[in-house]
Amino acid sequence: MLNHLVYISAIWLVLAFSLALLFGTRLRWGNFFFSVFYFLVILGLGDLIALTLFFAPLDLIGASAVAFWLGIPLILVLRNWNAFGQALFIFSLFATVIYLVYAGLITAFSPLSPIAFVFSYLLLLLEFCSLSLALTYAFEVLDVMCRIRWNRIPPSVKSASHLPMVSLHVPAYNEPPELVEQTLRALAKLDYPRYEVLLVDNNTPESTWKPLVKICQELGFKCLHLDHWPGYKSGALNFALTMTDPQAEIVGVVDADYVVEPDFLKATVPYFVEDPKLAFVQCPQDYRNENLNRFFQSMYDTYKYFFCLSMPARNERNAIIFCGTMGLLRKRVLQEIGGWDEWCITEDAEASLRILNRGYTSLYINRTFGRGLMPLNFEALKKQRFRWAFGGVQIIKKHWGKLMPWAHLVDPNNRMTPAQRYFYLVAGIQWFNELFTFAFTVMVIISALVTMAGQTGLLRPTSEALVILVIVLIGSNLVRALWGLRYAMHLTWTRAYYALILWFSLTWVVALACVQAITRTRGVFLRTPKSETKFAWLHALQITGWETFLAVLCVLSGLGAALRLPSILSLALFGICCSQAIIYFSAPSESVMSATGAGGTRVVQPDRGVIGEVVSENRLGIQLGIAVIAFLIGAFFAALWPAPNQTPWWSNYSPQPVIVPQQLPPGIVPQQPQPPPKNPPGQQKKQGAIDPFSPLVFVTGLPLGTSTHARWISINMLAPSNTQLARKTSVIHEFMRMEST
């Protein structure tokens, strides 16, 4: 029956996804009964299709009943979505659970050696984490695209009788004076009666900050240069708080490269007057250098995605984050929480968590009031992403206790709602997606190398049904990511695809950041491999040396496996390795693309915020490489452990039939393949039966690329030699014979 559940869940998911893709963003109304009706239609259609593929009406009725009764509560919970979004999420959840249960049963009850069981279990753990993340991405995307009701849209601004004084803090570190001057002159044009501007420059050479003093004097702004100042940007902003005018009630942070619209304050400050509990307001970060070339366009699209999809979803639950620029905070709240945390290198998001923890409210106003500059090349983007990922994990490390379901029981002063805790927890955990992807890449490479050595003892059995579900899950997640990108920014499919590739290109650096954030107590910044060349394209390749190495390793190991034991199966393994290589090859390609925006000559961008401990990417790569090699050596030795020499009694609980990749132990003579038993006319073949000569596929690690590229892993490898295929065929028939008796 479980096999049929797997097939039907795949069919339902495909149906629900196809219809959601066509109509999901168009339907802007809904009610419970229509949702139930639509849900039943999908169930019925899916059942009809399944009946034509395998005639098992009792199984289908049972599965439909379970899906129906599980779906109804979810429809009630997701009442602000339309029917298409509800059905898609329910069937995604259903398919994920079915997959994990099925894979779990295979892991638990297939006749594996103990070491193979441990490897298979580790794989299952990785799959569980990745699939759970994929569901969170699905939720985030559908929450905006299929929403029929918005409950927290900021009302139109009324003119307030009292406009409080605002203190705008402009942190600067080693910024070109011309850039900062542009920002300051834009701030001087703000249409607001009472505000001050504090330019806070820290740890910059005197020749760089001196020209800014005159400009500030001319514009009537205050200028501070903080020398030998610890604490990065947050240290500077904390001192700025001390220097803020006592009459100021609102503090704003504007980055030194942001040109702000004149009505920024007039449009945002009144919300503080209307709601005394409002602690901070955030506007989207936008950029003005997005059209240089395809790289900058993709970068722009990925940045905008967060503000067009993630932030509106979070705003509905009063769970937005403060983004460090183009935001305003109530001064007394900022003082109450103790200012900015100098330990965390993403002090902005961390502060917003502490603010919400005290029961204050936040507001996201989805309108651009200022445009800054994006990183000028891929190297700068890597460093920025390393910082963000590191800081994101730091926040989880410090505040995980506040985000747990029992947090309010332990600390009644914790005023965060369950939705706020969920969004902040997920935001931190989603950074680990890239680490899971890297772990999966390692397992794929190990699988290929182990196959090259002719050892398959570690590999988990598979079945056709599972493989199909894997393909459906991966495909739906990939397409959903593209769909989200298209919808959020009205992109073409091509442009959405390029944005996805840019996400992939940062996999390695984010994985590094996660490992560093877990193991270190203090923040560090990334130093990319040194390059003395003046040619931009060569430098672009040098700084993505590790990604290129990984990609080449994937291709070579897959090729080696295919050449060593040529068959359809090893070719499929090669295909999987290539899919992983695509992820890492995207880094050098994006890097070279970014270099073409600067012409032929290398542009050296000053490192913003790099005033703390710096860690070398080369050193991190070598450390990780040593760990992987140790794991690989362990895997090779473990693969030598023999499989059980007889079928244990508990293997009956494994979903049947499965293809067991381990070699037959010595002494067991492979039987001649028996012809499959003939079914009576009108009956389909027995449930779960597999034609042993059907092309057997295993999919692993095709990039999921959901909203922020969740991947999941299902490594089901088959030893592909012809001799071993014959042996496996005999094993299959043995199972079928046992089943029929």
């Binding site: 892991t107 006749p111 103990p114 441990v118 279990y121 200028c223 240069h225 020398d227 220097m243 029981l409």
Partner: protein, 199 residues
Amino acid sequence: MDQKEITGAMAIHTLNQDSPPVGAPTLDQGELDKYLRLLSETRDSREALGYVERAVELAPTDLRVRKWLHGTLIALTDRDPFIEYLTESEGMYVVAFRNSRPVVIPKDRGKIEVSPPVSRTEGERIIHLLRWSVLGLIPAGLGAILFLPIVYLRALMVLTAPSLPNRESRLAIVALYLSSFLALVGAIISGLLLLHWIG
């Protein structure tokens, strides 16, 4: 040691006495008013700095003092915005302007939770221990089983300890439930491993 360092050391000594000692005299309103009057009369920003520092010592949270402090600092940095960091405590910065002695400036914000924490309560330590139980799921759940008695023992010690804050007991109870759940999951996985071992 130059003058700046000596004065800095005195400033650091002052920093270490953020809260007034027991038996300290109450605020001398007359003294405070005197310094505020001197501040309003002087035109020299460096002299004003001296007066405002005295006023801050007497009444660090007084709004008038804060206003004068802010105004004095802004005036000092108007022509030369250079401020050098020397040290800080939980409530104070010690900084130096160009060619000036160290100056103590009170921070204008509350206390922040230090990370990583200097010390944890017993309940927090038990919860922190749970991360090993979670990681213990990786080696086929054996670690989760191993940590169960350790967490149990420490949680029971907390629960039976007299007059501990409620929060500690709640943390201990949460740790008990969580470690039990993790150990159960670990036991299932280890049981399966044993099955595969026996074959």
